[in-house]
Amino acid sequence: MGDEVPAELVESLQATAREVRRDVVRMNLASRGGYLGGSLSVADLLTALLFRELRVDPQRPAWADRDRLVLSKGHAAAALYSALALRGFFPRDELTTFRQFGSRLQGMPDRIRLPMVDASTGALGQGLGMAVGMALDARLDRRATRVYAVLGDGECQAGGTWESLMAGAHHRLGNLVVVIDRNGFESDGPIESVLGIEPLVEKLRAFGYRTEEIDGHDFREILGAFAHARAATDRPSVVVARTVKGKGVSFMENTHVWHARAPTKDEAERALLELGLSPSEAAR
């Protein structure tokens, strides 16, 4: 099924995701904070969701029948904001206000200030519960809404995640898709050395989910997995997306060091060069 994704679409999504990664680096540099590693790992997943999978309309952000996106790993807010801006939900210029006083772009998504995010998140282990509630809500109202919860893998150590997984399976929420950004690292180090969550897919299957393990940087596989999830209406799906923490910037890849570290001007410049900007653009 994934093979049916046309090459032009893949290229266009790759180009968009590269823009998201550039924005993430710039936003983290400008705000001297944020969460680089996990924002870069989730960039392709969020791009695929916002530019292809989700039924949303930037002109009607409050459209009741829209699909919902809960970024449970709220610390990857920079990637979400960039993708929302590129999709036309708000001006891209506003990204420069990220994490600044008075900005709608809080360090973690805040739907009171920025109504086009579907849930205020930032406390790990809670986003999936909100997504379960939204999926139940859509079912009760017989709306076609589908709900996508994007979780970090570190969050799979939180009790709330497993509680909510149980609830989603018990109520056979076929309109719920859980996407796990399996980049393998949390703030303190590799997840499997801090507190292992493997065998993750087996656990999720035992919890009653249709599971699919994919390369979270391959748009054919990402879109294929979403299509399979859409076809399975009898129960919820989990897409375990194997990703690279810090993806796209060689010296940030596969380490926890950049989980919550802001780049220096020089580091940001080198990162932007790797993300395809010219030396003069990168230095700006």
Binding site: V70, G129, M130, M134, D141
Partner: protein, 317 residues
């Protein structure tokens, strides 16, 4: 008066009110955390089986699920024991419900020491301090079954989150059976002293006021069911008119309404304030009435504290 009033269950009144609300609002849903049997929500489940979800022993995520259900304008009542609602699930209430301004009404049963035999682990004596500190949260503690029903209807009308603490005992009817958010009804007028009481201690407040009347002293009694927002004008009027305030609550005195009353009067119109509540301890097993005495809320103690205040005002010697 209070001795002859029939005793009734607040949770049952709450459950009946939910059924009526369910009739009025076809989108309203109810959540339970393995508490439907005790929380008076059985009737709602029988009447609207498709609109009740028992989430089992999942007090924390129930709050997130409730928020998700409510974000498109649905009214959600989520029920569990107070110790789990305010304690176990605190940060889920804070982030999922309050940070989203979700219209989730938390029905917190067994609030206070009335969990009786179960003892400390289930007797919630710190919830009001926790809940009233949350931005946007409405906090309500009705004194009897009729006002519990009235509060349930009022909270369903109100936007945003709310915490409704329900005592688990059968309590005598002591109010007019009305409730308005932000209002502290005067259950008895008086000018020598004000007794501010909430929940199960409104009855004892009225008893002591009645005793004082027999010796020619008049105590005003305010029902502080609306803890947040609270009736600041009524509180400051009481401070001005009576010059002394006694606060009675089934709650830790460290973070309860007594602390709120003391701070508010100190800032605006300082008068002597005394607090009757639970000291810095956990509850323990026992029958409700004897526990109330043991935990420092006996009628004797209330009487003594009232007398001390009246003495300080020169009303008695």
């Amino acid at each position: 008066m209070t001795q002859t009033s029939p005793r009734a269950s607040l949770t049952e009144a709450y459950g009946k009110a939910l059924v009526e609300l369910g009739e009025r609002d076809p989108r309203l849903v109810v959540l339970d955390a393995d508490t439907a049997t005790e929380n008076g929500t059985r009737a709602f489940g029988q009447r609207f089986p498709g609109r009740i979800f028992d989430l089992g022993v999942m007090d924390q995520s129930m709050m997130s699920i409730a928020a998700g259900l409510a974000l498109d304008g649905r009214t959600v009542f989520a029920n569990t024991a107070a110790v789990f609602a305010a304690g176990e699930a605190y940060n889920f209430v804070r982030q999922s419900i309050c940070a989203n301004r979700a219209k989730v009404k938390i029905g917190a049963t067994h609030g206070g020491h009335a969990a009786g035999g179960d003892g400390g682990p289930t007797q919630m004596l710190e919830d009001l301090g926790l809940m009233r500190g949350l931005p946007g949260m409405t906090v309500v503690v009705p004194a009897d079954a009729p006002s519990a029903a009235a509060a349930t209807f009022a909270l369903a009308e109100r936007t945003g989150p709310a915490y409704l603490r329900l005592n688990g005992d059968l309590l005598p009817t002591v109010t007019e059976g009305t409730f308005a958010v932000g209002s502290a009804p005067e259950l008895r007028s008086g000018s020598d002293l004000t007794i501010i009481a909430l929940g199960a201690l409104v009855g004892p407040a009225l008893e002591v006021a009645e005793e004082l009347a027999h010796v020619g002293l008049s105590a005003r009694v305010l029902d502080f069911a609306s803890v947040k927002p609270f009736d600041e004008p009524a509180l400051l009027r009481a401070a001005r008119d009576t010059g002394a305030i006694l606060v009675l609550e089934e709650h830790s005195v460290l973070t309860g309404v007594g602390a709120l009353v003391a701070a508010t009067t100190a800032e605006n119109y300082p008068v002597p304030v005394r607090r009757v509540g639970v000291p810095d301890v956990f509850g323990e097993s026992g029958e409700s009435a004897s526990l109330r005495d043991h935990l420092g809320m006996s009628t004797e103690r209330i009487r003594d504290e009232a007398w001390e205040l009246l003495k300080s005002r020169g009303k008695v010697t």
